[in-house]
């Protein structure tokens, strides 16, 4: 049995220690906002926060997250009111939307350490793939979210 703290709730899970965190979050706990895209840490659709850092959950054994704080898209903010989520809605960023929880989580980790990221910071830190090609809107929305957070 492993003890996991996800979105502030504690879960006891009976899984092998090497199981990727992604599948524990999705299949064992049932939070499906965190997506499976490639299983190799390449696309970023599975991005969650572990102790505030963006982590690709498909390539992280669950044992490494035990005892730490895991945040998924469902727990990013109460009522989906994180500045990024507001900016995302304002800009109608998603197309198919499948990669967007990961994009938002990667951007949230960036904003948490850099409240006013420049384009170069976004390029370096938010490396998630989007097949629909929403990159320009993602970038705009991150800038907009930084602005919203600064005004608050």
């Amino acid at each position: 049995m492993l003890s996991l703290r996800i979105n502030g709730k504690t879960y006891s899970v009976d899984v092998e220690r090497e199981t990727p965190l992604l599948w524990v979050i999705r299949d064992t706990i049932g939070l499906t906002g965190t997506k499976y895209g490639c299983g190799m840490g390449l696309c970023g659709a599975c991005t969650v926060h572990v102790n505030g850092k963006a982590v690709r959950a498909c390539s992280q054994p669950v044992s490494q997250a035990a005892g730490k704080d895991v945040t998924t898209i469902e727990g990013l903010s109460p009522n989906a009111q994180h500045p990024l989520q507001i900016a995302w809605r304002e800009g109608d960023v998603p197309e198919c939307g499948y990669c967007q929880p990961g994009q938002i989580m990667a951007a949230a980790a960036l904003l948490a350490k850099n409240s006013k990221p420049g384009d170069a910071d976004i390029t370096r830190e938010v490396t998630n793939l989007c097949r629909c090609g929403t990159y320009p809107r993602i970038r705009q929305a991150i800038h907009r979210a930084a602005e919203l957070a600064a005004k608050s």
Partner: protein
Amino acid sequence: MDRREFIVTTLTVGGGFALALAFPGSQVEGAVNAAKIPDKPWESLVGNADTEINPWLVVAPDDTVTIRVAQSEMGQQTFTSWSKMICEELECDWSKVRAEYASVNRHFRENKVYRRMATNASGAVRISREYLQQAGASARERLMAAAAGEWGVPRSELAVKDGIITHTPTGRKLRYGQVAQKAAAIKLPAEPKIKTPDQFTLMNKPTPFLETPLRVDGSVMYGMDVRLPGMLYAAAKASPVFLGKVKKYDATAVKNRPGVHSVVEFGGQNIEAGVAVVADSYWHAKTALDLLPIEWDDGAHGEDTSEKFLRMAHAALDEPGAQVLVKKGDPEAALKGAAKVVEAVYDVPYLDHAFMEPMNCTAQVTANRVDVWVGTQRPEEALLDAARITGVPQDNVYIHNCFIGGGFGRRNQNDDVRQAVAIAKQLDRPVKVVWSREETMRHGYYRPMRVARFRAGLGPDGNPVAWINRVIGIDQNPPADMRWRISSSTFTCGRRMFLPEFGLRWAGRRTSFIWKVLWMNWPMRPGKTPTTTGARYSTATAISRARRPG
């Protein structure tokens, strides 16, 4: 509200930070979280007290309008566009509009009531706009007729805005929600005319997408996210060579692995033969499948490779006997007389659609009912396939369409549906079949490979005087048995992008090669020089430009 009132809370967690900001009651945000679309997209929002005016729309007593969307949502914001096309005519309150998927099962039971559920050919708006406007206009007129009947006044004395009907001479008002039940029983003597684009008041304005709120908090379910009570998970591996067969596999090698339920073989009509491991979680299924010894019979195509096809295509650039499809003037002579000749050969490989959501399908098969949860571009064929494979009557087959994490045409094929139904048929519980990313790529329906040579003759002023173009496509190798596998997308691309008679020639040929050649003299018009540079889509672009008259 003033942005300064935003409440900011920063949660310190472990060694890092999670930034959590709350913006209560922000104006822009008014009611964003109200359910405009069910987060399980296959579920209905319609309540018992609501009234269906026609199959496309339902009016609730509180004037909420629910639009039935008969196209799949994969990023085009179809729920929004369909709602707008109907509400353009309905004249209801846009802020009270919500949308849900139309039922595929009903579509068949009621003689294809939704007309066209296949979501392809860039048609969700282009093909359906007029009949959706008609559905909205028709519903509006029935609601108006109901109000006119209620007051005993002629229709001509009524006006409507935002779902509120006014009797202009007296100022009396009725809401759509109040007359919906009566309207549902009304038959119009004649269908109303629909608006022309110059009369649009809703479709011509940008509105926030109904879909977006569900996509920024992880709540909306894609096929991959379906969870059912008692559900099993399957990891599937189909023959790595197209149309290969399973020779043997050793289920005992994995049956004691954690969580493994069973090992299931699948195959049949239009199903690539293969094996799936069924387990209590996808991870258990996948790791066991990776360890499962499977021997394949590669069949006729074991020696085929993309590299081989590419070499064959390049070699064919200089072979005689290519079919001339278009010829205008005498380009060869013009080329000989040109001041300068430029030549370029481009090739594009087979390309996977490479959407973000790997292929998946959830199915439950019982003796008299089949349920399938899947993101598909062709829910109609999904239903017919599921009925055929199980022998269950169509009326008892339910396709629960999901949001789709990218389709791009690939999800027209329903090979995932056929495979999942074939697997579920062997189980007594629902099963979610998931293809790994690798499996999804390996079993794509690829955009076809093409090799194209462009030759242009330039005159003394640098403008082209001749353009000779040869395109080689290897679409079928060899005969029709690969048609369903590689060629369905090839066919569409070829027909649409190259030449209209392409389909006919292709269907009748049984050689390995398809030859397509385009010759023409580019008309000499300053400022209209075609752009033939750029790698990937140069062939299609150049040809579609070339085909434009003048």
